[in-house]
């Protein structure tokens, strides 16, 4: 069989690895399409031929269920993202919290809190630290985490509050310095998956969701910086 999975951009790379692995094991063909969660939502509402949604949040799948476009029973939290304060400058981030309090950087890149769960988490963290208002002039907003990452990666922003998955990737490439934000500082960034109604009887799709719950998949996901 064959299935198309719609994946939030930030998880696209991992999803492709998983899809390949799953295809090798099951013989089913999986096609991965990536876009922002908002776009995927709009597309699904207008008849996009997707079978599974791997969302960047846990609210969009629920919304789809409520609208009858997805199957409630299939809801599954496939990953929990972690927030990292990353800088390309190797010396900059030692004590992240202190750095955020001091504000000794030119710009802080985050994803747009209205659009991206990681952005919302960053806002929550800064609010808790009492720095949200004070840091406003230094904030630059990416449309998604990818863009926020590019702001920091190109060193146009000294620091960024980013997904650990991307920060690991960046560190691999250019080093830099980072601080893993403690999970208590923000509500967990839960990313959930859901089977879309049109794929109710799609063995390949149902099988992929099954596979996602398995140890092999979980190991891959964890290796890429998700809890």
């Amino acid at each position: 069989g064959q299935a198309r999975i719609a994946v939030a951009s930030n998880f696209g790379e991992v999803a492709r690895l998983l899809a390949d692995d799953y295809s090798r094991r099951s013989g089913h063909a999986i096609q991965v399409s990536t876009a922002s969660t908002g776009k995927l939502y709009a597309q699904i509402g207008h008849g996009a031929p997707f079978d599974i949604l791997l969302s960047a949040d846990d609210t969009t799948p629920l919304k789809l269920v409520r609208e009858g476009l997805a199957i409630e029973a299939s809801l599954y939290d496939y990953a929990t993202g972690r927030l990292v304060l990353w800088s390309r400058r190797p010396e900059l981030v030692r004590d992240g919290e202190a750095l955020l309090r001091a504000g000794t950087f030119n710009k802080l890149a985050i994803a747009n809190p209205e659009l991206a769960p990681y952005g919302a988490a960053a806002r929550e963290l800064l609010t808790r630290l009492g720095r949200w208002d004070a840091l406003q002039p230094k904030l630059v907003l990416g449309e998604n985490v990818g863009q926020a990452m590019q702001f920091a990666f190109t060193a146009n922003a000294d620091v960024g509050l980013l997904p650990r998955s991307l920060a690991m990737e960046a560190e691999k490439k250019v080093g830099g310095s980072s601080w893993l934000v403690p999970q208590e500082q923000y509500r967990p960034i839960v990313q959930s998956a859901v089977l879309l109604s049109r794929a109710r009887d799609n063995a390949a799709a149902v099988g992929f969701l099954q596979y996602l719950r398995g140890d092999a998949a979980r190991a891959v996901i964890r290796a890429h910086g998700y809890d």
Partner: protein, 224 residues
């Protein structure tokens, strides 16, 4: 690099077909806009340019609305037994054409407007019908405008990605074009791949643009 080939094929097909359709549609429209004295000239000229002022994704969103099962276009295609156009190559083509239309129509219009009526009159007295005059006089004389239109139409379709992403749904082999692939690579921090792809795209496009400009000139010299 396995996802590259399907994307190249889709891109080439999309850009080629879009440019072709744009020229075929754009030429009569531009000719009309350039020559008519109708009061509709100005508003219609503005309407053609209008899709440009919307951000591509937003335009894509509205196209999606229109093409979806509940949208007017979707209902039409549905009634015709064609299903919906969204997420198909045809839908992508339609969206691209709509979005790149002004880049073709307006330069052509400006070019056509400059053609000396006396020369067209002369051609008419030499038995050339209106269509014949258009092909044998107007087109060769508006070569710079034609090259511009082709060039802008083509390049814009290659680079366009907001509408494509929205209407096409990034489906490999069908609607995933190079621009979307490149976007994905950058998002995924696959910068190495992205540099390579961007470099290749630029080089290829540069050569294509060069060729286009030169061919435009050749064709005309060989004409008649």
């Amino acid at each position: 690099m396995s996802p590259l080939w399907p994307a190249i094929l889709v891109t080439a097909r999309l850009a080629g077909l879009t440019t072709l359709i744009l020229l075929v549609l754009g030429m009569p429209l531009a000719w009309w806009l350039a020559r008519t004295r109708s009061a509709w000239r100005v508003p219609i000229g503005a309407v053609v340019a209008l899709p440009m002022v919307l951000p591509p994704t937003v335009l894509g969103f509205y196209l999606l609305l229109g093409m979806g099962p509940h949208g007017p276009l979707g209902q039409l295609t549905g009634a015709l037994g064609l299903g919906t156009l969204a997420f198909t190559f045809e839908g992508l083509l339609l969206a691209s054409v709509l979005y790149s239309l002004p880049f073709v129509v307006h330069p052509l219009q400006a070019g056509f407007a400059g053609i000396d009526a006396a020369v067209l009159d002369a051609a008419a007295t030499l038995r050339a019908s209106p269509l014949d005059r258009f092909v044998s006089v107007v087109l060769p004389l508006s070569r710079p405008a034609l090259v511009t239109a082709t060039l802008l139409g083509f390049a814009h379709t290659v680079g366009e990605f907001g509408v494509v992403l929205m209407v096409g749904g990034n489906i490999e082999g069908e609607t995933r074009v190079l621009s979307v692939l490149l976007y994905d690579q950058v998002e995924a921090m696959a910068y190495g791949d992205a540099h390579l792809l961007a470099g290749g795209l630029l080089l290829f496009s540069f050569l294509a643009l060069l060729l286009m400009q030169r061919m435009g000139r050749r064709t005309v010299l060989a004409h008649e």
